[in-house]
């Protein structure tokens, strides 16, 4: 018979509507059987011990991206993290960094979505809309594969050391989204569409420390996107100097 082990959960609590109380750790003791995830325990704590605990969740299977947080110092999704993988019986949970905390583990994702919208995160076409779908070869699809996998959980945004000092930086997820469309064989955005991120708050701000890659629960590599976008910008610049537009090249 598999037996339950006793764990201590320390959760950083804070309510932006009661700033005078300040942030503090609340401690919960709970028995956990192997196979249980951090999210399952969070739900049990809210149900059985403390109904005031706030955290987001929905799919509980690592596709919706709602439950990103810091788990024993590492950014990950609470739903896909087994309690038993840690070499300790104390689990410390903190809200995602680089965001304002609204309540407990719930952060204000507004800046994340602002950056997402800034890069025009949708297929742009100049040609007339065809009757049927626009076909794509497997090789063409392969180029955007990893970026299509992004679940917009903001783990990378929370892990980014540049965002910690420069809140206006576009961030890894938005860059990855932009590259997803720039590399898409069906997208016809102009070279000028990259201008929005072609500055010191855009892709040039990245320190290429790869923390975003480390934090991504879906094996997306936002740094690849940033490097790719930088190359495209340099290429565009040379072509401009030679008097060519993207369409002629």
């Amino acid at each position: 018979m598999i037996k339950a082990n006793s764990y201590t959960f320390k959760i950083l609590r804070y309510d932006a509507k009661e700033p005078e109380r300040g942030p503090r750790f609340a401690t919960y003791r709970i028995k956990v059987i192997p196979g249980l995830t951090v999210l399952a325990v969070l739900i049990r704590i809210r149900d059985e011990i403390d109904g005031t605990l706030s955290f987001r969740c929905s799919c509980r299977s690592a596709v919706c991206g709602s439950c990103a947080m810091v788990i024993n110092g590492k950014i990950d999704l609470a739903c896909r993290t087994q309690v038993a993988i840690f070499d300790t019986d104390t689990i410390i949970l903190e809200p995602l960094p680089n965001f304002e905390v609204l309540r407990d583990l719930v952060v204000d994702l507004t800046p994340f979505w602002q950056m997402y919208e800034k890069i025009q995160p949708y297929l742009i076409r100049e040609s007339p809309v065809p009757e049927k779908e626009i076909l794509q070869s497997e090789a063409e699809r392969g180029r955007i594969d990893q970026f299509v996998n992004c679940i917009l959980c903001a783990c990378c945004y929370g892990a980014c050391p540049v965002l910690a000092r420069e809140p206006d930086y576009i961030g890894p997820a938005a860059a990855a989204k932009l590259e997803r469309f720039v590399l898409d064989s069906r997208d016809e955005r102009s070279a000028g569409a990259l201008d929005a991120v072609n500055d010191e708050k855009g892709v040039w701000a990245c320190d290429t420390l790869f923390r975003c890659i480390d934090a991504c629960p879906k094996d997306v590599r936002p740094t690849d996107a940033i490097v790719g976008l930088r190359k495209a910008m340099v290429k565009n610049r040379f072509q401009k100097m030679l008097g060519k537009t993207k369409d002629e090249a």
Partner: protein, 458 residues
């Protein structure tokens, strides 16, 4: 988006399109991207608490802004629900935690009719504990099912199709094995083994990478080395808000699409891939219908019933915010267990009568529910409590429909009425809230067009 047709045969139209093993994810992202492109106004983290219907006309909704805790009446000429299925009224479901069916319960409570609620699909292979779906591809690629005797038991039930028999049949076989003591024991529940090991590591990594990751992350098992512990769980809600093929309900100005609706394209048992049809095809048809109906202005919604409804919700929130009373999660857990056990894969009159009694008792207990904090912002315990009221109604209509339907059809299986009975039961059940708050069931004829109903044989 890069959707590939499934069928490689060119002599007939492809039955479905897919995008690797993340079709839903790709559809969801594309939809959101198009919404951003079109500048659609989105209200993130607003929870609709109630639907406003008066004298056959929908006037809009009352919503709770989860972030601020503010209650907001939303007046609308047309209201469309795409609120998902009711999987979470069952304890074990492959659905997301937010698929409580509260949208369906809300429509019902406001007076909209629900159709065929008793048709609930169970998926045979779901990971124990989290109930995450282990897709059909596991068996499609050649996975075996074993009981605790080391027997490939499908041989006894459907020797021709073995593990590849349809969902409802495989679910019943697995449940029978577990019920008759041939399952394995685990603190998370009794299970059957889904064994992929004979496929070899290379094939598992190439063809089922998502499944392998889920097993490692969510149960700590590598399917290359160990069999996957699975059990059947609730998977899809065939029933829902009764709408026509334009997604319009019989309430003026109220529409529904996707899993929360029942257009009746799935009958009693949805086929693989058709949930996408429900969202993509009917999402578009609903949009067209709404545009048509609003041509020339549409009916003017009234503010008065909305403000009255807002006051009612305000009072409800006040009642719920009285600390030291019953806990919603406990009622929800009991509801889930009773549906799993008594309105699940196998159904009998006796058990469903017990379930009805239990649900009535839980409804009574619900009147005493309270939440821990009076703060309304980011209060997820409060939202759970609000949803539970609707879950109880949904569970009530499922059970009543299943009790009345004295036959077995599609996913609805009665051990006391094992065969399909087209003479008496080739009809829809319609559940409507009665004057005393109890559901009243009526019946509606089935529209049969090109294909005559036939018995399924193997």
């Amino acid at each position: 988006m890069p959707l590939q047709p499934v069928s490689r045969r060119h002599d007939r139209p492809a039955p479905a399109c897919f995008s690797a093993d993340i079709t839903g994810h790709v559809l969801l992202n594309t939809l959101y991207e198009r919404a951003v492109a079109k500048g659609v106004k989105i209200y993130p983290e607003w929870f609709v608490t109630s639907l406003c219907i008066e004298e056959g006309q929908c006037h809009g909704v009352v919503a709770l802004d989860i972030r601020t805790g503010e209650l907001i009446p939303v007046r609308a000429k047309a209201t469309f629900f795409g609120t998902g299925g009711y999987g979470r009224v069952y304890q074990h479901s492959t659905n997301a935690l937010i698929n409580t069916g509260s949208g369906i319960g809300m429509a019902y409570a406001a007076g909209a009719p629900l159709k065929d609620m008793e048709f609930v699909q169970f998926h045979p292979t779901c990971l124990i504990g989290t109930s995450i779906l282990m897709t059909e591809a596991c068996r499609g690629e050649g996975g075996y099912l074993f009981n605790n005797q080391g027997e490939r038991f499908m041989q006894r039930y459907v020797p021709t199709a073995m593990e590849l028999a349809p969902r409802d049949i495989v679910s019943r076989c697995i449940q029978t094995e577990i019920n008759e003591g041939r399952g394995f024991d685990h603190p998370l529940g009794k299970y059957i083994q889904l064994d992929l090991r004979h496929l070899g590591g290379k094939k598992i990594i190439e063809r089922l990478p998502g499944i392998r990751n889920i097993c490692i992350d969510f149960i700590g098992i590598d399917p290359i080395i160990e069999p996957i512990p699975i059990m059947p769980c609730q998977h899809y809600s065939m029933g829902g808000i009764d709408v026509d093929k334009r997604c319009a309900s019989d309430i003026r100005g109220f529409y529904a699409g996707g899993e929360c609706s029942c257009v009746s394209v799935h009958g009693g048992n949805r086929l693989g891939g058709n949930s996408l049809l429900d969202t993509i095809v009917f999402g578009k048809l609903a949009a067209q219908a709404i545009a048509e109906d609003l041509e020339g202005g549409g009916a003017l919604p009234d503010e008065k019933p909305l403000l009255k409804l807002k006051d009612e919700v305000e009072q409800k929130l006040g009642r719920l915010a009285t600390p030291g009373r019953g806990k919603a999660y406990r009622i929800q857990a009991e509801l889930g267990t009773v549906l799993d056990e008594k309105v699940g894969i196998f159904r009998t009159r006796k058990e469903m009568e017990q379930a009805l009694q239990k649900i009535a008792g839980l409804k009574e207990e619900y009147r005493n529910v309270g939440v821990s904090s009076t703060a309304r912002h980011m209060n997820f315990e409060l939202i759970n409590a609000l949803e539970l009221e609707y879950m109880l109604e949904v569970a009530h209509t499922i059970t009543l429909g299943a009790l009345l339907r004295e036959e077995s059809r599609g996913a609805h299986f009665r051990t006391d009425f094992k065969t399909r009975n087209d003479r008496d039961w080739l009809k829809h059940t319609i559940a409507k809230i009665g004057p005393n708050g109890e559901p009243v069931i009526s019946f509606k004829d089935v529209t049969i067009t090109r294909y005559q109903p036939m018995e399924r044989k193997y």
